[in-house]
Symmetry: C2
Subunit: 352 residues, 2 copies
């Protein structure tokens, strides 16, 4: 199932509630520049004068436009520095077919120097012709699983995740079920990209990560989800939703460690890890009129409203995110802030 970010340009739209993800794009801009300067094999691309870029799981902007422009600027620099004529760019904005492409298309930068296209479909499968992409970026999207691992919803399974909506404070069996689903999804992701990316082309991954050796429960996104889960449980206590409803709900996201990504890339065999590092994510802040709790609650709302509406119904949304806002404001989560994203740069290598 696909649950896109909130569309449109309204109060709870992803467009207006994605400054946190934009922080990650800014934090990794230099890394992308270096990746392109040092790791892009443009001599392999000479047969075509079109350089094709895709942003997978792009949602509805403006973040995707910022990320894409960074890449284009860096590629132009690379071509110029090597004495080549700069290429034409074709940029493919990808997300699920239910994504709000209408808003994406009408908000494309009017002064863009690239040919824009939208590509509907899941990045866990093939969505582009063979060897047609030169640079892939996937920012704040690869933690999305293709489905909730079925064991965690199965009352008869040792991995049944009763009373929780996520794996981070759950039993090892639950964590294993999530990790196994992630490994399967990464296999599909890498297989598809191995076919779509030209030799010498790059895949840049930016995603909240779980540093090696750190428990899942210690990373910031999982702490948020924990807080979010507690809001749902409070609503059970108040009789607003049933316990059964919460037991049958799990979020389809997994924040992997560098080791898990390495293992997936090694199994695939078509990519070389050029770079992999943890990058600090700036601590979220509020502003003069809006508390940090409100900002964070709205950002999470923009991301997960779809799946919440589908499972619990639309009527709980306002109350749920008001509660989350208050919990954020009261929590000490931001005081000892250690948020980190994982930056991974893969190069498509020639295979026999």
């Amino acid at each position: 199932m696909a649950y896109p970010m909130n569309g449109g340009n309204g109060q709870y739209s992803y467009s207006n509630n994605s400054s946190f993800q934009r922080g990650a794009i800014h934090a990794t801009k230099e890394l992308i520049n270096e990746a392109i300067a040092e790791n892009l094999d443009i001599k392999n691309f000479s047969s075509s004068n079109t350089f094709r870029v895709t942003d997978l799981g792009c949602s509805v902007g403006p973040n995707t436009f910022v990320a894409v422009q960074n890449i284009i600027d860096a590629v132009n620099l690379k071509y110029q520095s090597q004495g080549h004529r700069t290429p034409e760019f074709q940029v493919f904005f990808n997300d699920h077919a239910l994504n709000d492409f209408n808003t994406l298309f009408t908000s494309l930068p009017p002064d863009r120097l690239y040919y824009a296209a939208g590509v509907p479909g899941s990045f866990h499968s093939r969505i582009f012709p063979s060897a047609s992409l030169h640079f892939v970026i996937i920012s704040y999207a690869l933690h999305c699983l293709s489905r909730v691992p079925k064991e965690v919803l199965d009352k008869t399974s040792p991995a049944y995740n009763k009373g929780r909506i996520h794996y981070s404070n759950s039993s090892d069996k639950v964590v294993e079920a999530y990790a196994a689903q992630y490994a399967k999804d990464m296999e599909c992701f890498l297989n598809a990209r191995a076919q779509e990316v030209v030799c010498g082309g790059l895949v840049a991954i930016i995603v909240p990560g779980c540093p090696n050796g750190i428990p899942h429960s210690q990373i910031f996104v999982n702490m948020w989800y924990e807080l979010f889960g507690s809001c749902l449980l409070d609503m059970v206590q108040k009789g607003i939703i049933s316990e059964e409803k919460v037991d049958s709900f799990n979020l389809p996201t997994y924040f992997a460690s560098p080791q898990e990504v390495e293992a997936a890339v090694e199994r695939n065999g078509c990519f070389h890890i050029e770079r992999m590092e943890m990058v600090p994510q700036e601590r979220p802040s509020g502003n003069s009129s809006t508390s940090r709790g409100r900002v964070m609650s709205s950002q999470i709302r923009a991301g997960v409203s779809g799946i919440i509406k589908e499972h619990f119904g639309e009527e709980i949304i306002d109350e749920l995110f008001d509660a989350l806002h208050k919990k954020f404001d009261e929590s000490s989560l931001f005081e000892s802030w250690n948020g980190t994203n994982m930056f991974v740069l893969l190069k498509r290598i020639a295979t026999i």
Copy 2:
């Protein structure tokens, strides 16, 4: 300005009111098959295994899916008959950024054997990288002008088109202004396509046409527009809209003759006309529950609602198209039916 077809899947959507245009696709299917079998130079394309198709001005389906599948089937046959491995297909669905791409993407055929992308933008300008397209189809779209010719709205001009919304029964000056705008737009269209289409690639145009030597007022689409204009004038008589409003409104469409298309292609110099013929369009029909007038009125409504709302306001829409429906039912327009479309096949030739 861009006025897309009505989006969504509702009563007045283009999706549910485009059987007339689909008739043109069916009527030209054999011509497309022959065009691909006889005129496509696949030996030129061998460096890439991706065959790229675009439907320009595709609107929101289902017609575009039918047209695209015809093309893919014919190209596969061509490759097979010449002993080549069949290519991968990438299909670019193009229309203005305001087109309802959300509906288009969620209604893509699930069993399609091509990679789909949406391309927002006007086909009067560049929207694809150089030499990136192998087959272009543009069906029931090339009659749309990029703008209303400014003279026809200028009270001081001899081409001022007072009391009319179109050129077909107007003075020669008005017709000339429309024809000049068409010539300019065709120049832009052909210049853009000349850069985007690979040598040996094809452009297939299907559009209501005006046979050489036949007065504009005699062709079916213009007779419809005449009827449509008379409904607006009736509303002036009734005091529902002002005379001034009608005087300042003209439809930005022009139905050219084969001679005009030939002249434009010749001026451009990058294409050879492989085929050009007039193809009969089946007479529109009603059905057991809906009169022909109602069907035709709904189809025109799906196409022109946007521009009517913009100029006259939404409140006149229902009454206007009810009136048109009645005029259609009462008219003898369909009795001596001579509707014809123009089919033009252009091949991109090598230029020095």
